[in-house]
Symmetry: C2
C-alpha cells in the first residue's frame, strides 16, 4: 500500500472520453490498494479560451479578476472527474484550491504556494476517498482565487504530494518519460529510468519541456519522488498493475540512482539570441550597468560570458536573451550606451544553445575537452561556453544544432543499441 498523487494535464482530460480514461488509471491504483489524490488541469483549449476572453475584456486586466476567470477551467475538470470516478464505483470528491485550502502569496497570476494543510486530505484518503484536486489554483491572503501561471498544475501536484507525505507523485503526460535527448533529432535517444532533481532542473530549463521548472525545484526541496509517465497507455495494461516498475522516468534524489553515467542527457534550445558588447571598459560596475537596465525592462538574461581582457582595460561581454526580447534588449542597450561605454555591439538570433548534463561530471575531468574536440572535428564553431558543476553549455550556429546534438549523444554513449 502506498500513498500516491496522480497528475493529469490538459490533453489527458480534453473531453469526457479522455476523462473516463483518466478515471480508469485512478481506479487501477485504488484497486491495487493505494491511497490516491488526483490533480487535474483544465480541459485542453479551455484555458486558452478563458485567457483570450480576459484579453478581449481589457489589455490591462486586474490579475485578481484574471485568476477568478481562468481558475474556472480546473474547477470544471475536477468536478467532472469526480463524477466519472463515482460512476466507476470509486469513492471520490472534488477539492478547489480554497476548500483545502492551498494558501498562496498575493502575486495573482503567478502566485507561489505558501502553505497547504494536508490534514483533511490525509483523513479522507485514509477512509478510502479519492481526492480530486483542481490544479493551478489556490487562495491568496486577500481571500481571493489565485493561480500559479502556466504549467502550474505540476506545481500543485508536487506540493500536494509534499503536504500529504505521498510516496510518489505521478505526472501523467503525453510523453512516456524523460529522454537522453529529443528523440525527433536522435532516434536512438533512450528513456532514462531515473534522473536526479538537479539534472532535471537543467533539462527542464533547457528545453526538455516535460515538467515545469518550479515543480522540479519544489520536488527537490521537499524530496518528492516524481514520476513522469504516459497518460495514453491503456489504463488496464498488465504492465501498469503494481506499484514499482511501470514505464516512465523517476525524478529523485541522486542517492536513488544506481546506474552511474558521466553524462545523463543532451539538451538544446533555439529560443535564445546572442548579444555581444565589444571593447567594454573593464572596471567595477560595468556588468551592473549592462544587466540592471535589462532586468528593469523584464528581460531575462541566461548565459553570461565575460573574458578577461589582455591588458586589463577593455573586455568583451557576451550573453543571451529570449529571441522574443531581442529587439527590445538592443534598444535598452542603445539607450545605456553612454553609461556602459562599449564600442561595438553585435547580435544574432541565429544561434542555438547545446547543453551536456550529468551529475557524474562532478567527479570526471575532461568531459568538456572531449566535447570541444568532437565538435571541432565536425567543423562546428563554438561561440561561447559556460559551465556549472553538472552542466556544460555551448552557443553555436543554429544550423549545426542537430549535428551537434547527435555528435555529443554518441560521444557520451547515450545511443540506444
Amino acid at each position: 500500500m502506498a500513498r500516491l498523487v496522480m497528475k493529469f494535464g490538459g490533453t489527458s482530460v480534453a473531453d469526457i472520453d479522455h476523462i473516463r480514461n483518466v478515471a480508469r488509471h485512478v481506479k487501477r491504483e485504488v484497486d491495487a490498494g493505494h491511497e490516491v489524490a488526483v490533480v487535474v488541469s483544465a480541459m485542453a483549449g479551455t484555458t486558452n479560451q478563458l485567457v483570450a476572453w480576459t484579453r478581449a475584456a481589457s489589455r490591462l486586466h486586474d490579475a485578481r479578476e484574471y485568476d477568478t476567470v481562468v481558475a474556472a477551467g480546473e474547477q470544471i475538470t475536477c468536478g467532472l472527474l469526480a463524477i466519472v470516478l463515482q460512476d466507476l464505483g470509486v469513492n471520490a470528491r472534488s477539492w478547489l484550491g480554497w476548500q483545502i485550502p492551498i494558501r498562496t502569496d498575493a502575486a495573482h497570476g503567478a502566485a507561489r504556494i505558501a502553505d497547504i494543510n494536508g490534514a483533511i486530505l490525509v483523513e479522507r484518503m485514509a477512509r478510502g476517498q479519492v481526492a480530486v484536486i483542481a490544479g493551478f489554483q489556490g487562495i491568496g491572503p486577500d481571500n481571493r482565487v489565485s493561480t500559479f501561471g502556466r504549467g502550474g498544475s505540476d506545481t500543485t501536484a508536487v506540493a500536494i504530494a509534499a503536504a500529504v507525505g505521498a510516496d510518489r507523485c505521478d505526472i501523467y503526460t503525453d510523453v512516456d518519460g524523460v529522454y537522453t535527448t529529443d528523440p525527433r533529432i536522435v532516434p536512438k535517444a533512450r528513456r532514462l529510468p531515473r534522473v536526479s532533481y538537479e539534472e532535471m532542473l537543467e533539462m527542464a530549463s533547457l528545453g526538455a519541456k516535460v515538467l515545469q521548472v518550479r515543480s522540479v525545484e519544489m520536488a527537490m526541496v521537499h524530496g518528492v519522488r516524481t514520476f513522469v509517465r504516459s497518460s495514453f497507455t491503456d489504463p488496464g495494461s498488465p504492465e501498469l498493475i503494481g506499484y514499482d516498475e511501470p514505464p516512465g522516468t523517476l525524478i529523485c534524489d541522486e542517492d536513488e540512482i544506481v546506474e552511474e553515467k558521466v553524462v545523463t542527457g543532451i539538451a538544446y534550445s533555439k529560443d535564445d539570441a546572442q548579444i555581444s558588447l565589444r571593447r567594454v571598459a573593464d572596471k567595477p560596475g560595468v556588468a551592473a550597468a549592462v544587466f540592471i537596465p535589462l532586468a528593469e525592462a523584464n528581460i531575462n538574461v541566461d548565459m553570461i560570458v565575460q573574458n578577461i581582457s589582455e591588458d586589463g582595460s577593455l573586455t568583451d561581454l557576451t550573453f543571451t536573451v529570449p529571441i522574443a526580447d531581442f529587439d527590445r534588449a538592443q534598444q535598452v542597450l542603445e539607450a545605456s550606451r553612454e553609461r556602459i561605454g562599449y564600442q561595438v555591439k553585435q547580435g544574432s538570433t541565429d544561434v542555438a544553445k547545446i547543453s551536456i548534463i550529468g551529475i557524474g561530471m562532478r567527479s570526471h575531468a575532461g568531459v568538456a575537452a572531449e566535447a570541444f574536440q568532437a565538435l571541432a572535428a565536425r567543423g562546428i564553431n563554438i561561440r561561447a561556453i559556460t559551465t556549472s558543476e553538472i552542466k556544460i553549455s555551448m552557443l553555436i550556429d543554429a544550423s549545426y544544432t542537430e549535428l551537434a546534438v547527435r555528435t555529443l549523444h554518441s560521444l557520451y554513449g547515450l545511443d540506444n543499441n
Copy 2:
C-alpha cells in the same frame, strides 16, 4: 443617490461585446451617483455546455459535483465583467458565492438561500466599489459550492437586494417589461408600469416567463422593489439617465400601485395535460389516495377540481399535470386504481389553461361571470374552472387559446389604443 442591484441574464452577457454593453449600463448608474451591485448569469450557452458534460460524465451524477462544474459559468462572467468595468474606469471587483458568503441549505442543484451577510458588500459599495456578484451560486453547510437551479440568478439578485437594503433590484432581460398578455398573440398588449408581487407570482407561474417564481416570492417576503427592464436598449440613451422612470415594469407592493384596474393581465399555458377520474367514491381520503402517489413520483399537480356528487356517493375529479409527465401520471394512476377506486379515467394533452389575473378582483364581483359569458358567446367550451382571490383559471381546448386570450383581453379593457 440610491442603492441599486442590477441583474443581467445569459443573453445579456453572451460575449465580450455584450458584457461591454452591460458595463455601460452599470457605469451609467455609477455616474448618476448610485451605489451599485451587479449580479450576472453565465454567458449564454455556457451552462448548457457544462450541464451536458456532467450528463455525459454520468447519468446519475453527484449533485455536489454538478454544482462545482456548473457554478464555473457564473464565475467566468463575473470576473470578465469586473475587468471590463475597470477598463471603463469603474472601481469594481468580483464576488463568488463563497466569498460573500451566500449561505444555502444542503439541497445541491436546487439549493435555497439561508443567509447572506451583506455587511462587506455595503461597506465596499459605500466606498464607491461596484460589487460584481456571480449569480446562481452559494456555499452549502458542507463548505461546498451550491447552485440554485435554473433561473437562480434572479433569486441571487433579489436576495442580495434584500441583504444590502437596496432601493431597487433591476432585472435586465430580453423583454422590456411585463405585458397585459403575450404580445405575440395580442398585438395590442400593453406594458404594465407596475404589478403587485401577488399578481406577478400568478403571471410567472402561468407562463409569462420573465422572472423565476422563487425570486418573486423572495421579493414579496422581503419587500424588494423589483424592476423588469430591457438590457438591449442603448445604455447611454437619455431616457435611461436618472433613477425614477425608465421604461419597464416595477413589481412592488400593491400600496404602490395607483392605477386601479380590476384585471391586470391574461395569462395562458399550453404546457399542461388534463386528467379526469370519473365516478370516484366520494369518501374521506380519496384525494390523498390520488395525489400522494403522484407526489411520490415527483409529478407536479396544478389545477384540481372536484365536484360535489349528486347523491353523495360518487364524484368526478379533474386535475392538470405537466405534459411531460402525462404518460407517467397515467401509469401511476393505473397502478393505484384499486386503492383509489375510480371507474373511468380520461385524459387529454390538447388543452390550454387561460388565467385572468388582478388584485382588483378581490373587491369586484361578476368578473368570472363576464368571462364565462364572453367565451360562451364565441363558442368556447370551458372544461374546468378554478379560482383564487386574484385569479380565475379556465381549462379549454388548446385550439381556442388565441381566441380566448384576445376575447378576454378586450373584455377587461386591456387593449392599447
